[in-house]
Symmetry: C2
Subunit: 222 residues, 2 copies
Amino acid sequence: MSSVLPTSLANTAEQEAYLYLQHALRTGRYKPGERLISEEIAAEIGMSRMPVREAFRRLAADGLVTLRPNRGCVVAGLSFDELYETFEIRSVLEGLAVRLATPKMTEEHFEELERLLDRMERAGHSGSSDWVLRHQEFHSAIYTLSGRPKLIRQISALHVVIEPYMRIWFDYVNKPLSAREEHDQLIKVLALKDCAKAEEVMRKHILETAPTLANYVNSGRP
Amino acid sequence: MSSVLPTSLANTAEQEAYLYLQHALRTGRYKPGERLISEEIAAEIGMSRMPVREAFRRLAADGLVTLRPNRGCVVAGLSFDELYETFEIRSVLEGLAVRLATPKMTEEHFEELERLLDRMERAGHSGSSDWVLRHQEFHSAIYTLSGRPKLIRQISALHVVIEPYMRIWFDYVNKPLSAREEHDQLIKVLALKDCAKAEEVMRKHILETAPTLANYVNSGRP
DNA sequence: GATTGGATAATTGGATACAAAATGAGATCC
DNA sequence: GGATCTCATTTTGTATCCAATTATCCAATC
């Protein structure tokens, strides 16, 4: 269900190309270092090179690919350092988001968060990498409450960039299953309604998963 | 000198268009809400619409313009809330940067920062909006030390977005002149080499200027 | 055997051409 | 008078074409 490509919802060919490529990159169909040839992709989705090129630019801005003049489009991928850096940035941005969200949290929100955790756990047991999407849903449910559109966009973009690595992580070890209790604790702290505390705990929550993930991911790549 | 357009350094037409438009937007030549017509701009710099369109996409990713299907490119501009939000994001990102930079700071760096403040002050007295660029230089001298490329890029992008508003601020009031002492205090705290303290002070430094700026800027616009 | 050189193929960048959509001005209707 | 409709104009989106750049391959050389 979540793997359906909303190409029919794309108003323009550029958007269709963008969504198509973003999905492919998120699910790891293209590997880091791989070169994307505009004409090939254009043929795949039945359009000319031009909209694909424009999609490339958006993906490059997202950090999903690298674009160099006259030498095309290369799937980006993250080095160990870059992955860690991304988690550092996530930690302060999501820390800010949760600080702003805390005063707005109601009992219903906490119930919703629990439901999302349940779903995440079920997805984890079924072995599907759906877990990654559920995990994103849980986090986004928190920071959406901040009511800060630009902040939300930035955080979402970072989630997309690390998504392939989260999937690999899940496929290698089943560490994510034990993540349930960590997230439960997170909810408990949020319930205290202490903004500073909430920010601090979210920061730690994110920074702690960084090294574990990074070690599993970059064992054999620059 | 700083207003020279490095068009000759642009390898590709798209890059030339991008630099041209970014400069125009930074210096406030185009006003928020104004529509940018690809063909007009293409004619201005002597190229076809195509590279300009691609430049539009990059500018949209930077948040400098808004792009809607079939209805073109509009100069973005920030509402009061958006400006404030941008400063909130800046505060945590630059807070992180200064935290990471603090352990790496040497005596030479502090001397360099003092020199940059002197230049900033001189630029301020000469009345030119060069002050804005000097102010950027000062801040970037700090966060460059963090050694985090992605973080630096994100912060720089935010500085570009708020640049037009900083210029307007400078042109209206000469508040920036009194900013010298605030920045001096910032340096003093950095010299303590206390990472947590440095982060906290940088956050405050940025958040404090936000409302002042926002009030002067959005008196007559949504 | 590894390296350099150059011809050829693959690929990108940019201009032009054309179709589709939006914008705007004037006429028409209520 | 104000709202709505119509049609010409403007502007955007995409395909195609050509030039310029880069990658690849194969032979010649050290």
